[in-house]
Symmetry: C3
Subunit: 472 residues, 3 copies
């Protein structure tokens, strides 16, 4: 009996059975998806094109972005698919239980409808960002255990921020990007070991960098849908426009700085693949807030700058000084731009006023609805567990709660990630290190031909066909 | 005069001219697409995003999924494009003639509108599935002849099942997936020869397996649109949800079983590329039927199991014992999951009742509309050539007709495929075998560099640059 | 101080700052995107799925189509991203200023909304087509300077054609495709030098041709959205249908001719990658005009023919006789099919009548609205700077203006391109030639492994790892 062969499969199957049971007992179609007679059309189907754009980002975008490693292409795109498929089921359950407990009503069932599918995909994004921090260094079973814990913590954090504090985050740059990045970095720190010198598989080859661009460009294209998909009407259109402009400005700045920071004045594909996207992250909290298009562009410029500088100067220091090895540089793409997003959101909220924006400000920040208008907006307010001050809070208060949500997010992510990392170091979870890192041959059948070889390995192991043939 | 050079072009051009003539004589814009004054907007344009999702599946999804062969990447994605472009024109004509004859009205013209574009893309899917069974083993002219015949038979079969028997199949898992798979397998059986030992080009290289994942992931992402695109309202939303959940569950099970069936406990990219999609096929008939989300997930789990087990144990046996060489394993991705879909559809139909689902059951199964309500649903009923019992049939009767449609589908596919295969063996259709198989150099200009080489070939033919240079 | 290292970054940053300032001073949200109360939904959000299809074409489609060069994959997809991100900002400004000046009203601000995002993406397409003509032969700074000038000229040209002449072009085959192609070819001509013999990096490798097909297929899939996205109602549906059918017919003809023109009777991937798309270009002007589906198919057939014949016979002659080196063959994909589109548009306009098409003809050609109906159509007419005859022009007059717009387009493109090319030859713009051409190592950090090597280079420079190892 090969224990290694059956441990992970049994683990997966047990959880899949558990998911089935929980869906059977607790799941039910949401209102929109229940049987109706003709004419009662489901309004939320208009969400579907936005959902599909996000769906492409999760599965193609994240999956291919991570194929840049020369010998971990199978792992990148396949394990990305596995994690996402696992998490979207788990997220329905976790979200359902949290909201059921939180709202304290007798109805324990969780609803299954298009809007929750979008939320489930968002939950997958959180875990996939953390995956990027430990890419090539964690076993599939470690990644699935990480996913199980991270989804619970991320959803609790989102619930605290959104429902308790009323801190809005339309593109979830705090609740997804910052959370996923710092959770993943904390895990990476705890899993750190000294055998990176042996891992000769890290790095890209020419065509793996082109595969990675498939991910980059699809993420770039559909990011407006990520930030604007959950909004509506003119608010949605502004979120789409602002994200589009922020990304464009970010991209120009990324190319400029990438060349500037290189001694030979050459562009770096790592920057092109990642920093061009920072403008989407950085606008995620404020995309629908009262700001002007040029402000969105300015935020994009700042995000691109932070990201390139981070890749060039900060990532090596984190590795050498703090023993944080960040495979994909998620700190530069999701972490720091996510914090920037939270800060911008707080500032925009604190500056929000009805001057020039009218009562549409109340659509963006429902807890700023004045007491005297609260019946008019009863439905908007009803969604909140109003333990925090509101309705009727001032813009300054709203800004303060936005800041608080950012801080709480970072605390839960870092502490939760560190504790999760400790758990993952248990021997039963098959830690990966040394030569096994960044190498598909550890977990996949790789038949050899076309697998990028290391020079030293070629000599040591004689696995290079041509060399072997010639030496015959 | 090089006959080989001009035969296929002349063949294609003749048919393209024929298509032009038939469109000129028989084609006309459908009601929605005819000139109108402003305000009379075309409702069916809301179908367009679903159509485009399916369109991506047909051209990117199927095309790239088949690029896994190391030396047949040009053929996979290019011939896929050719077949699909050819079939979508032919399908308009064939469908138009069948429906004109069947409905027996004087109006011989066929309508051209968005809904028919979706049907034409679906017709292409059928042929592309069969293409997968003979990938690398059939000449372009054989494939186009196969397409000409298969479209006719598949459309007749769909008409029998859908219009005569009233057997519904929202994602066409019977009429497309099962039909395409068994038609293709029958062709593959008849075209079988004993020269597979010479075909040293079968198999993948590292990056061809990553190209293939582009196809896999886009198919995975958009499969809900395939199963739900033709539905409407809440029925559509349930089809989208159920397919999404089925795929997620199927994917988790696929990874578990892929590792379990390998002696070394490693994941197999063939399973990741294909079996993860079986959950979409298996739900194609019942996606909109009265079932609960957990049932959709259970069907996905079963489909993933069947598919991995099929790839691992059945495909080799089909080849060695039954002389059926199934290049892409369409039996495991489309065939058996398609049969499963048909069986599930029959069971769900037989169990359908208005308890809990109300009259929405009549939207799903129009021939179950009670006689006394038939005027109310006159338009729904009018679409059927009511030779089969109905309206007013019981759920058991509906289930029986669903079964019958599945059986008829398999019979027409296998018999039709075998006869087509016999025709294709005629020398004029340029059979491919031996060393020519799975090799782009047979039909494409391949300039050499980067073309994956065989070790033996490198020695025999000296076509490996580096070897040649060194031997100088 | 390395001047080369900082020149381009400073150039980019200066323009990005300028864009920020101009957006701050002159930009404002369009009517649809301005804050509104609930219920006043933004109608133009229905444009978003079409916009996203076009967005995929610009960034994935154009970007990957150009990755066919074996050693210029980074440049193709990355510089494509940079140019497009730069142009979409610049286009808002240029379009805003032109329309503000042209309409002569006091309101100098330019509107930012979803429709302008589509126009900005279209503007990027123009420049990216020109990029294809000089691919691998121009430095990034040359390309950005080209973009700056070309956007201005292209938008002026579009304004002349559309607003002054009232020459409609729904898919912008004249204003984008023909303009971009001939502008780019004029630049390529002026930049021509005699060192092509040294450029040993031109040409593809096996997998770079497959990367290119990602671009081809996505362009193919979404071209109906390019031609029909800006239309509405039944007019839109006809544009979608016609483009779809034209592409299908074009593809069949392309495969036939590709095999026919090759001496060995083999298919050429250059034709598959490019000529299959000519049917989309050729229908761009007339997609929504009064024509029948079979006419769309016929136009597709002609376009495929022109394109394959152009690649096979014309491109080499342009290079050897006229010293026009057209890297991507934009003359065959965008140039000649764009002219064809303009001619077809003129013919269709000249033949347009209300017989059978009713007053919907006036929706397509607003300046043909009879004088007596002009109040009824006041809003349609108000969009035009009516210096040209109209409203009330005859179909012949309309056809004449369509022709005139085509001629003016070609004149402005060629003269503008030539002058731009002269400017780009200034030494400060870092001309690229000789060995540096078609080689990513000139502008990108390329770490070596997997970078396709030249045989001679391998010998000369000893940069081939295996050779070096063996010679040790």
């Amino acid at each position: 009996m090969n224990w290694r062969r059956i441990k992970f499969p049994i683990f997966l199957i047990c959880f899949q059975v558990l998911f089935l049971l929980l869906f059977a007992v607790l799941g039910e179609y949401g209102e929109d998806a229940r049987p109706k007679m003709p004419g009662d059309s489901a309004a939320s189907v208009k969400l579907y094109p936005y959902f599909q754009d996000v769906h492409v980002m999760i599965f193609i975008g994240f999956g291919f972005l991570m194929t840049f490693l020369k010998r971990y292409g199978f792992g990148a795109v396949s394990i990305n698919l596995l994690i996402a498929a696992f998490v979207i089921q788990w997220a329905f359950i976790v979200r359902g239980i949290i909201h059921s407990v939180a709202h304290g009503h007798g109805h324990a069932k969780f609803p299954i409808y298009l809007g929750e599918m979008l939320s489930a995909d968002f939950a997958a994004a959180t875990v996939l960002i953390s995956f990027g921090a430990v890419l090539g260094k964690a076993s599939p079973i470690q990644l699935i255990v990480m996913a199980l814990i991270e989804v619970v913590l991320a959803q609790i954090n989102e619930w605290i921020g959104l429902d308790i504090f009323g801190a809005v985050d339309i593109g979830e740059s705090m609740y997804i990007h910052a959370f996923g990045a710092y959770f993943g970095l904390a895990v990476a720190r705890v899993l750190y070991n000294d055998k990176y010198d042996e891992a000769r598989s890290e790095g890209s080859v020419y065509h793996s960098d082109i595969f990675s661009m498939i991910g980059t460009v699809f993420l770039w294209i559909f990011w407006p849908s990520f930030n604007g998909g959950a909004a509506d009407g003119d608010e949605q259109q502004r979120a789409l426009i602002n994200t589009y402009l922020s990304l464009a400005a970010c991209t120009v700045v990324t190319f400029a700085l990438s060349q500037l920071v290189d001694k030979r004045g050459k562009l770096n594909m790592v920057h092109v693949q990642n920093a061009t996207l920072a403008g989407g992250v950085a606008l995620g909290t404020s995309a629908n807030m009262p700001l002007q298009p040029w402000v969105a562009m300015l935020i994009g410029c700042i995000a691109g700058t932070i990201s390139v500088v981070g890749y060039q100067y900060l990532t090596p220091v984190l590795h050498s000084k703090l023993k944080i090895h960040d495979t994909c540089g998620v700190n530069n793409l999701h972490g720091m731009p996510g914090i920037l997003a939270g800060l911008v959101g707080a500032i925009m909220a604190a500056m929000a006023s009805t001057d020039g924006w009218g009562e549409s400000v109340y659509e963006i920040f429902p807890l700023m609805i004045p007491m005297e208008n609260s019946t008019e907006y009863a439905s908007a307010v009803a969604n909140f567990s109003v333990t925090a001050p509101g309705p009727g809070r001032s813009s300054t208060t709203q800004g303060g709660y936005q800041m608080l949500a950012l801080v709480i997010t970072l605390v839960i992510a870092i502490v939760g990630g560190a504790l999760t990392g400790l758990l993952l170091r248990m021997p039963c979870f098959d830690n990966v290190d040394g030569k096994q890192m960044f190498d598909d041959r550890e977990f996949f059948i790789v038949e050899g031909q076309g697998f990028p070889s290391n020079e030293e390995e070629a000599i040591e192991e004689g696995n290079d066909t041509k060399l072997r043939m010639l030496s015959d």
